[in-house]
Each structure stands twice: as structure tokens, then as C-alpha cells.
């Protein structure tokens, strides 16, 4: 293709071929049978009826900036001014307004670490990496050192809580899950029975009941006078929950190894723990990385349930933003905003897990 074609009024043969090609594509992919033609027409009609009003609502008639909710109510479109007014509250909850760069930095560190963890080359030092990241996050959120003012965790809120619950939950649950999975595959009947009971019990009940348990029953379990923080209680419930689900994923990896690996380790004279640590677990865990990412996605979404026991995560913050009497009724904008945040995290993680799965199967075929 040269630049002169643009001056030429007649379509070039290349252009004609491309038109013919796209026409053929349309025929083959949209109108190949009578019912597919019908579907295409119905969907086209649907788009014509839905998209223009949707665009009007989102862009043409929307209000982007105003301090007066009445302006929004009079407008026919979306009230993005509501998001403009409330986004700091939705993202960071009641964290002191002037200090909100701290949770923002914490969120950015966590996202950077999540992104870095996607690269296989970082997996060798993934544990120190996350320990360092979480320590910095804790220092940022709590403060009290390095001239940062102390902020008690009752005032934390929004996205940092969601990230904290899911990342810390998964990190702490992981070693427990490995032990549970090994226990469930163990030859020792007592150990196996305990692990099966735990895993099946947690997996058999909804997360809400575990959260209720941790919020109303945990205080009763502890010696009189000892209290634990509300956020920590929710975190414990999330860890217990994640451990059971992860254990089942890891058990899948253990089962997928050919028996020859176990026998080879035995014939080398390795004891149980060395056999597991040096031969079995490295292979089994590598196989289950994609399903572990999927578990993390589900877990990330499930952290929204802490709303029910009154923990101030991003979901709770969104709901509270909507209770402001001045700004009542802009639930579409609010849920769209929060939904997009959740979607971005989950969508990229799920694409990553699919890509990883393909990479792994490529490696195994050779």
C-alpha cells in the first residue's frame, strides 16, 4: 500500500479485496444460517435501542461536577458528581482526610506487588517480597513511627481493608492449607480424620456463618478479659475459610503427581518431610498455581461479605456513601464505580490465570 491510493478516487484492488473479505466474514459469522441471521438482527435491534440511551445517560446528559445534588436530580443522566464527591470516602473510608496518601501508597504498593508476582522470575523471592511489602503497608496504615501520626485500625476503611483481608488471608492460609492437604493424604488415620473434618466442615457452610462465628462466638472462646480486635476477628474467619478451599486445590496437585515420584523419593531413603519438601511439594504446587489464582479471585470477591459483620471494606464504604441524605438515590453510579474496581482486579487475575495455564501446558508437552 502506498500513499497515492488516497488520492485515487477509485477503490484499489486491495481495498476491493478487503471489502469482499469482510463481506464474506459477515456472511460466514453473522448470517450463515437463517436462525443466525435472525439472532444477528435481534441483537442489532437490541443494541440500537439500548446503546444510544445508555450513552446519553453516561455521557451526554450526565453531570460531572457540582456541589449541589439538586442539579444532579434535575439532570436526566448519570451523576458523576456524586462519585467526585465521594470517591475518597469509598476508597479510603474514614481514614483521616489529610493522611489519605498513606492508604493510597499502600494500595499502590499492593497492586505493584500483585503485578510483580505475575512474573515467574520473582517467584524465588516471593515470600520476602510480600513480607517486606506487608510490613511497609502496616507501617503506612498504622503510623506511629517515622513521624507518621498513629491511626487506629477502627478508622481504616475502603480498598485497603479489602486488599488487606484478601492478601493477608491468602498468605497466612497458604501454609495451613499445605499442612491440611498433606494431612488429608496421610496414611495416619487420626491425622487424616482431623483434616477431613476441618476441610469438609468449613467448605460445607456459607462464609457468613463463619463470619458470624468469629464476630459473636470468638470472644466467648477466649479466656475472660482477653478481647481481640474486630478486624482481626474477621481476618481469622477469612483465613479459616481460605485454608479449607486452598487445601482442596493443593490436594488436587498432590493427586496429579504420578506415583513414581513418591516411590522414587522413598527409594532414595528420604523421610516423610524431606520427601514432601524436596520432591513432592515443589512439583505439586507448580501444577496448581492457576487454580490458586482462581481461588484468590473468588476469595477477593468474598471479602465483600465482611459488610454483614460491619467491617469497613470498600463494599461497606459504598453502601455508607449512599446513605448520605443529600446524595441519596445515586446507587447506579456508586455500584458501577465499585463494580468496575472489583472487575479490574478480578478480570486481570483471571486472564493471568488462563495465560499461565496455557504456558504450563506448553511446557509439559515437550
Amino acid at each position: 500500500m502506498t500513499a497515492e491510493t488516497r488520492d485515487d478516487p477509485r477503490p484499489s484492488p486491495d481495498f476491493a479485496a478487503r471489502v469482499a473479505g469482510s463481506l464474506a466474514w459477515v456472511r460466514n459469522n453473522l448470517f450463515n444460517t437463517w436462525y443466525n441471521a435472525l439472532f444477528t438482527l435481534i441483537i442489532a435491534w437490541f443494541f440500537l435501542n439500548v446503546l444510544p440511551p445508555l450513552f446519553d445517560w453516561m455521557v451526554t446528559n450526565s453531570v460531572w461536577q457540582t456541589d449541589d445534588p439538586r442539579v444532579c436530580r434535575d439532570a436526566a443522566g448519570a451523576c458523576w458528581a456524586f462519585i467526585h464527591e465521594k470517591y475518597r470516602f469509598i476508597l479510603f473510608g474514614t481514614y483521616p482526610y489529610d493522611e489519605q496518601w498513606r492508604p493510597l501508597l499502600m494500595v499502590m504498593i499492593t497492586i505493584a506487588l500483585l503485578a510483580a508476582s505475575c512474573d515467574k522470575r520473582t517467584w524465588r523471592f516471593i515470600v520476602p517480597m510480600w513480607v517486606a511489602g506487608l510490613t511497609v503497608s502496616g507501617v503506612l496504615l498504622w503510623g506511629g513511627v517515622f513521624g507518621l501520626t498513629y491511626v487506629e485500625n477502627l478508622r481504616w476503611g475502603g480498598l485497603p481493608i479489602t486488599l488487606l483481608l484478601s492478601v493477608v488471608g491468602l498468605a497466612v492460609a497458604f501454609p495451613i492449607a499445605v499442612l491440611l492437604a498433606l494431612g488429608r493424604r496421610s496414611d495416619l488415620p487420626v491425622v487424616r480424620a482431623i483434616c477431613i473434618c476441618y476441610i469438609e466442615m468449613i467448605r460445607g457452610v456459607p462464609l457468613i456463618t463463619l463470619l458470624f462465628m468469629s464476630s459473636v462466638m470468638l470472644p466467648l472462646f477466649l479466656p475472660t478479659g482477653v478481647t481481640i480486635d474486630k478486624l482481626l476477628r474477621a481476618q481469622i474467619a477469612m483465613i479459616m475459610f481460605a485454608a479449607a478451599y486452598l487445601a482442596e486445590v493443593i490436594r488436587g496437585g498432590l493427586q496429579s503427581l504420578p506415583r513414581g515420584q513418591y516411590e522414587a523419593a522413598d527409594s532414595l531413603g528420604l523421610g516423610y518431610w524431606r520427601k514432601m519438601r524436596l520432591i513432592i511439594l515443589p512439583q505439586a504446587l507448580a501444577v496448581v498455581i492457576p487454580p490458586i489464582v482462581n481461588t484468590f479471585i473468588a476469595f477477593f470477591k468474598d471479602t465483600s461479605l465482611v459488610l454483614i459483620i460491619g467491617i469497613f471494606d470498600i463494599m461497606t464504604a459504598t453502601k455508607s456513601a449512599l446513605t448520605d441524605p443529600h446524595w441519596r438515590g445515586f446507587f447506579r453510579e456508586a455500584y458501577l464505580f465499585t463494580g468496575v474496581i472489583y472487575f479490574c482486579f478480578c478480570f486481570f487475575m483471571s486472564k493471568y490465570s488462563q495465560w499461565l495455564e496455557k504456558e504450563f501446558s506448553k511446557g509439559r508437552r515437550h
Partner: protein
């Protein structure tokens, strides 16, 4: 090198000493005693703490409170209930509501999920794209957020009952929920239910007879069409025999709300909408992977045996696809049932919601949470048992 000599030395000394700890069986028993003891110790410690705490706060333990009057209202219930009834009856109301939502949700999610799963494999580019956008959006947003959205949508956007949408005669959509006409009570309906049950039994007998006859003589019997005929025909005949009642109980606007007909409350509608739309996204993926897992050679082999396309679908493709589809789908049914507990967030009186109210009124935290867990565990374990039975039944018999 050093490691090698060390380990060699270790083995020799071990054989000389022959400590009883070297015996694998002894070690296994000791280890299990240790683990079992630690777990029992932890449980004992927690129970002991709990007992002390309860004593100090003078909370009575036990399920005696179930006899007391609940004195809270429940907005919708399948069985007669009034605030004067006891807590146990309130619990039953919650249980039935949970089972009701789960049953309806499972049926609708299966239908929608299958349609979307098949649509993702459509040769129509637009249909396939639309279906995959649906799956991605629905699966990557928390169910709780979706429930809140639907609930806010129904209560906040739909018109007041006086200006209710009236898409079909007798059907009213307003912020008080969906009102639809229902047939007026008539003995014909009961009779038709019995007729359906009779027809199901008859079809089961017929199909086993047809199978035995085909095994013996090789003659096929059109079980599908005859069976469908019996299933549809018998209830219709009964309906006609009872004089084909057509009277409908129409919903009518009285005051600020609708009377008569059947009314789906906003809470129920939002819960069902959310659960069905969310779970269908997962079922669609299962259906899709089940269908692509059956290789193309299977249907070609079936066709070359002289089977018709319908027979290939029914006898070759579906049995193989279903073998892959059914186990993870039951997992999704279980998830839907457990997820229905999110009802508490939008105020539908399901089991968790009722027990939560009970907990707040009586302070019987342990009993209430134990009841919640017991119910869900029972449901989960029965589904797991069924799945084990089913998997054993359909397991490939390899040569």
C-alpha cells in the same frame, strides 16, 4: 561427599542402637497421639473458656429458648406464622424460605446457564461475543454487589404501585415487587398434580420395560415420544375431566399495594435475580467446557454407524458431555444454596436472617450459629453423598 558419609554413618548407628523410635509403626502411633492430643486439648481449652464466660455473663445454654415466643414478624413465609409462634417455628420458616429460594434459583440458573454456555459456542460471532461478555462481567463482580444493585434497582427505580408497569393484563411491576395472576383454587389442580406423579411412575416403568425388551429382542421402542405424550397428555386429560377451570385470581390495586394474585416481594425478586444471573455465569462455563471436551470424532463415529443426528446427540454426545458437566454443576448448586445466605444483606427472611434476629433477641449465639452450620452441613453432605453415588455409577469402566 561429607553428606554421603554422614548419612552412611547415621544409618549404621541407627541399626546398632535400634531404638524403639526407629520403628515406623511406633512413630506413627506416637505422632497421631500427639496431634490428636493437641487438637483435643485445644477444643477442651475453648470449651472450658466458653463455659466460664457464659457462666460469668449468666447466659443459659441449651435449646430451651426455642420454645419461647419469637415475637418478631417475618415478611414472607411458606408455612403459617405469626409473631406469637415460638422460635422453632420461626427457624422452620427460615429453613423453608432458604430451600425455596435454592430450588427456584437452581432451576432458573441451570436453564439460563445452559443457554449462555451453548451461546458461547455459537457460530454467530455476535451471539458468542455477547455471551462471553456476560460471563466475564457476571463472574468478576462480587455477588453481594450485584444483589445490592438489583435490590436498589427494584425499590428505587421501578414506579410506585399506582403507576405500576402493566406489561401484560394482570401483571404489575412496581417497587412493591411483581404481582401476577394465579388460578383460583379448584380441585382440578390437586388432581393434576397427582396425575403428573402417576405419569412419572408410568414413564419410569415403561422405559425399563422398553430397555429390557430391546436387550432381549433388539427392537427399539419410541420411549421418548411416548413418554412425553404420557407426561403431558395425562394431566391434560384430568384437567379436561374436571371441567377445565379457567378462573384467575387477579391482583388489584387496593390502597398502596396490590391484593390478590401472587406477589413476589422486591427482596425475593432481587435475591433470585442476583443468584440466578451470577450462578448462570459459572454454569455456562461448565456447560461450554463439557461440550468442547467431547471430541468431534465421537459424533462422526456415531454418524458412520448409521445413527441419526438426534440419536447421535442423545446416545453419544449427551452422555459423555453430561459426565463432565454434572459433577461441577452440583458444586455450583451447592454454592448457590450457600450464597442464598446473602439474603440477610437485603432483608429476605432466609435461615441465616431469621437465626440472626433470634441471636440478637436471645443472645444465644452458640446455639444460633450451630443451627445455621448444622443445616448447611446437612445440605452439603447430602449433596456430596449423592455425588459420590452418582460418580460411582457413571465412572468409566476401563478395560
Amino acid at each position: 561427599m561429607t553428606q554421603l558419609s554422614e548419612s552412611a554413618g547415621g544409618t549404621s548407628t541407627r541399626t546398632v542402637r535400634a531404638s524403639f523410635l526407629a520403628n515406623e509403626n511406633v512413630r506413627a502411633v506416637l505422632f497421631q497421639l500427639l496431634v490428636g492430643g493437641a487438637v483435643l486439648g485445644l477444643v477442651w481449652y475453648l470449651v472450658d473458656n466458653t463455659m466460664t464466660n457464659l457462666e460469668q455473663q449468666s447466659i443459659a445454654t441449651g435449646f430451651g429458648f426455642l420454645d419461647r415466643s419469637a415475637s418478631f414478624a417475618i415478611s414472607e413465609s411458606a408455612i403459617p406464622y405469626s409473631p406469637a409462634d415460638n422460635y422453632f417455628r420461626a427457624f422452620l420458616v427460615g429453613l423453608f424460605n432458604t430451600l425455596y429460594v435454592a430450588a427456584i434459583g437452581i432451576v432458573l440458573a441451570t436453564l439460563l446457564g445452559t443457554v449462555i454456555g451453548v451461546a458461547r459456542l455459537s457460530s454467530n460471532w455476535l451471539v458468542a461475543r455477547l455471551a462471553s461478555v456476560y460471563v466475564e462481567v457476571v463472574r468478576n463482580i462480587p455477588l453481594l454487589l450485584q444483589l445490592f444493585f438489583w435490590y436498589a434497582f427494584i425499590t428505587g427505580v421501578l414506579p410506585h404501585p399506582r403507576q405500576a408497569d402493566n406489561p401484560l393484563p394482570g401483571v404489575f411491576l412496581s417497587n412493591r415487587g411483581l404481582s401476577v395472576p394465579v388460578p383460583e383454587p379448584h380441585p382440578a389442580w390437586t388432581a393434576m398434580l397427582i396425575a403428573v406423579a402417576v405419569a412419572v411412575v408410568a414413564v419410569m416403568v415403561l422405559s425399563s420395560w422398553a430397555k429390557r425388551r430391546q436387550a432381549k429382542t433388539g427392537q427399539p421402542f419410541p420411549t421418548l415420544s411416548v413418554g412425553l405424550g404420557v407426561l403431558i397428555g395425562l394431566p391434560l386429560v384430568v384437567y379436561g375431566a374436571f371441567g377445565a377451570p379457567t378462573a384467575l385470581d387477579m391482583p388489584e390495586l387496593r390502597g398502596f399495594n396490590f391484593r390478590g394474585g401472587a406477589r413476589l416481594t422486591p427482596e425475593f425478586t432481587a435475591l433470585i435475580l442476583g443468584l440466578v444471573i451470577y450462578t448462570a455465569g459459572f454454569i455456562a462455563e461448565i456447560v461450554r467446557s463439557g461440550i468442547i471436551a467431547v471430541s468431534k470424532g465421537q459424533s462422526e463415529a456415531g454418524l458412520s454407524l448409521g445413527l441419526s443426528r438426534g440419536q447421535v446427540l442423545r446416545l453419544i454426545l449427551l452422555p459423555q458431555a453430561l459426565r463432565i458437566i454434572i459433577p461441577p454443576t452440583t458444586g455450583q448448586y451447592l454454592n448457590l444454596t450457600k450464597n442464598s445466605s446473602l439474603a440477610v444483606a437485603i432483608g429476605y427472611p432466609d435461615l441465616v436472617s431469621v437465626l440472626n434476629t433470634t441471636l440478637n433477641q436471645t443472645g444465644q449465639a452458640i446455639e444460633a450459629v450451630a443451627m445455621m452450620m448444622a443445616v448447611y452441613l446437612t445440605i452439603s453432605l447430602s449433596i456430596a453423598l449423592f455425588m459420590n453415588w452418582y460418580n460411582a455409577r457413571i465412572a468409566l469402566v476401563e478395560r
